[in-house]
C-alpha cells in the first residue's frame, strides 16, 4: 500500500504534529520505504492465529479499593507549565462546549 501526501497530512493532524509542506515529500518517501518492507506480512498465512495481546500468560492483577496513592515528591504546581488555584490552565478551547467528551478539537 502506498502512502501519499494527503495520508501523511491526515496522520500528522491526528498526531498533532505540524509537518512543513517542504518536508512532506521526503517524509512520504521515507515512510513508503519503510512500509514497503511490511508488505511481506500480507503473504503470511495467519488463519486461526490469535493476535498476541501481550506475551505473558498471566491474568490481570487487580488492586484493592483503598489508598494511599503513590506520593509526589513535589506538587503539581512545581512542574506544570501553568496552574491557577489548583487548576491546570490551557489556552481557551476554540469551541467551548461544556461536554467533556466533545472531541470537536479533533
Amino acid at each position: 500500500m502506498a502512502i501519499g501526501p494527503d495520508d501523511v497530512r491526515h496522520v500528522a493532524a491526528l498526531a498533532r504534529l505540524a509537518v512543513p509542506e517542504s518536508q512532506l515529500p521526503e517524509l512520504v518517501r521515507q515512510l513508503n520505504g519503510i512500509l514497503s518492507h511490511m508488505d511481506v506480512l500480507a503473504r503470511v498465512n495467519t488463519t486461526g492465529v490469535m493476535g498476541a495481546a501481550g506475551v505473558g500468560d498471566a491474568a490481570m492483577p487487580l488492586r484493592a479499593d483503598i489508598g494511599p496513592p503513590i506520593p509526589l515528591a513535589r506538587p503539581l504546581e512545581s512542574f506544570a507549565p501553568q496552574t491557577r488555584d489548583g487548576f491546570l490552565l490551557v489556552p481557551r478551547l476554540a469551541t467551548h462546549e461544556s461536554s467533556g467528551d466533545d472531541e470537536s478539537v479533533e
Binding site: 495481546a53 484493592a64 479499593d65 487548576f87 491546570l88 490551557v90 461544556s98 461536554s99 479533533e106
Partner: protein, 481 residues
Amino acid sequence: MSAASDYEMVVGLEVHVQLLTRTKAFCGCSTAYGAPPNVNTCPVCLALPGALPVLNEEAVRLAVRAAHALSATVNETSIFARKNYFYPDLPKGYQISQFDKPLAEHGKLDIGMNADGTPITVRITRIHMEEDAGKSVHDRYAGATAIDLNGVPLIEIVSEPDMRSAREAGAYLRALKQVIEYTGVSDANMEEGSLRVDANVSARLRGETKLGTKTEVKNLNSFSGVERALEVEFARQSDVLARGGTVTQQTMLWDAIRGEVRPARSKEGSHDYRYFPEPDLPPLQLARAWIDHARAELPELPAAKQARFLADYRLTPAEIEVLTADQSLSAYFEEVARVDGDAKGAANWVIRDVRQLLNSGATLATLKIRPPALAQLLALVRDGTVSHDAATKVFAIASENGDAPLDIAKRERLLQERSQDALAGWVDQVLAAYPDVASRFRAGDKKLLGVLVGLVMKASKGRADPKAVNQLLSARAAAGE
C-alpha cells in the same frame, strides 16, 4: 401536517454511569466529591512519564453487579483497549476503555407495558468499563480553559436502537436509573454528573426496516432534556428527509436554553480513535463461579419488588410505583408494614406523610421518625387510642423530636378519651347546655345523634372517642334517658 408523522423515530442511548468506589479506576487516589482541583492526583492519573495503570477490583465488582441487574452475560475474559484522542482533560492522550470483548453483553431492561400486558423491552448491546476524563471549565479565567483531572471508574451502557419515541427514551432512562440505584453501584444522578447520556437518533419512513442515518446528540443535562432534544432532532431529520435530502452523520449539541440542536463544530465524519488492546493491562479473567456468586448477591431489583408487593401487600399499582421508586423508601415502608401488620395503613402514611417530609428537604436516613415509631402510631390509630387528626399532630411532633408517639400523645393530651366517666361528664354537659336538642333527642329524633356527638367532641376539645360517644348516647336513648 408535519413531516414527522410519516416518519418513525429510532433511538439508541449510551449512558455513562460513575461507580461508587473510594479510589479511582487505575490508581489509589481518592474519588471524594468536592475536593479542590487536582488535589487528589498521583503519577498515574497525571499521566506522568513512566506511570502505569492498575485496575480497581471494586470497580470490577460493581460493574459486574450492574451487568447482572441488567440481565447481561458477563464475559469470563474481557480486554481493555486504548481510545486515542487529544483533549486537555484526557492526560494520557488516550482513554483506557474496552472495545472488542467488553465486560458484559446482551442485556435488557423492561421499561413499561404494552396495552396487551406484554412488556416493552429495550435490549442492551454491551456494558463496558472505562475511566472518566477530567472536567474542563471554560469561563472561569479569561482566555483559558481550566482543567480538573478525574479518573473515576465508569461503566458505559449501550442500548440497541430499540426505542421508538422520546417518551420511551425517557422511560428507559428512568428505569435504568432506578435499577442502578437499587444495585448501589452508583448515585446515577444526571444533575450531579454521575450519570451522563448521549443519544443516537435517526428517522425512517414508517414501515421501513432499514435504519436511517443517525446523528449523535450530546450535551444533554436532564431526562426531560433528552426527550425534548430527541423531538427537536427528529423533527429536523424528518424535515430534511421529507424534502428529499439526506441526513448527514454528525454530532449535534443540545442547547437547553434555546431548545435547539446544532452541529458540533468539528470535522466531518466519525472520529478515528485508533483502538488497540491496552498493552499495560493483561486480559481481565473472572472465574465463572465468582460471576455466578455475584449474581446471587444481587439485591432485590425493582421489577421483582413490585411483583412481590402486589402479591403480598395487595396494594394498588399506583401505590406500588410510588413506594418502590426509591429503594430506601420501600425498605422504610416494609419495616413499618412488618412491625405494624397493616400494609395499607403503612402505605398511606408513607406515601402521604413521610413523602411530604422528604419533599421539604429531609432524607430518609436523617428522618427522626423511624419505622417502629410510625408503626406504633398506626397501631394507636387503629385501636382508637388517638384519633386520626390527633395522629397527624403526633406525627408532626415526632418528626421533629423523634420521641415515641405514645409519649407524645400523652404529653400533648392527644389521647382519645374513652372512660365512661369522662364521656358521661361531657355528655351531661352538652345535654344541659342544649336542653332543646336534648329533649328532642330523648323524644326519639335519631338524626340528632350526629349533632350531639359533634357537640360532645367540641366540648371535649376533640379528645372524646366519637365512636364511644355515639355508643353512650345511643345507649342512653335506648334506656330512655
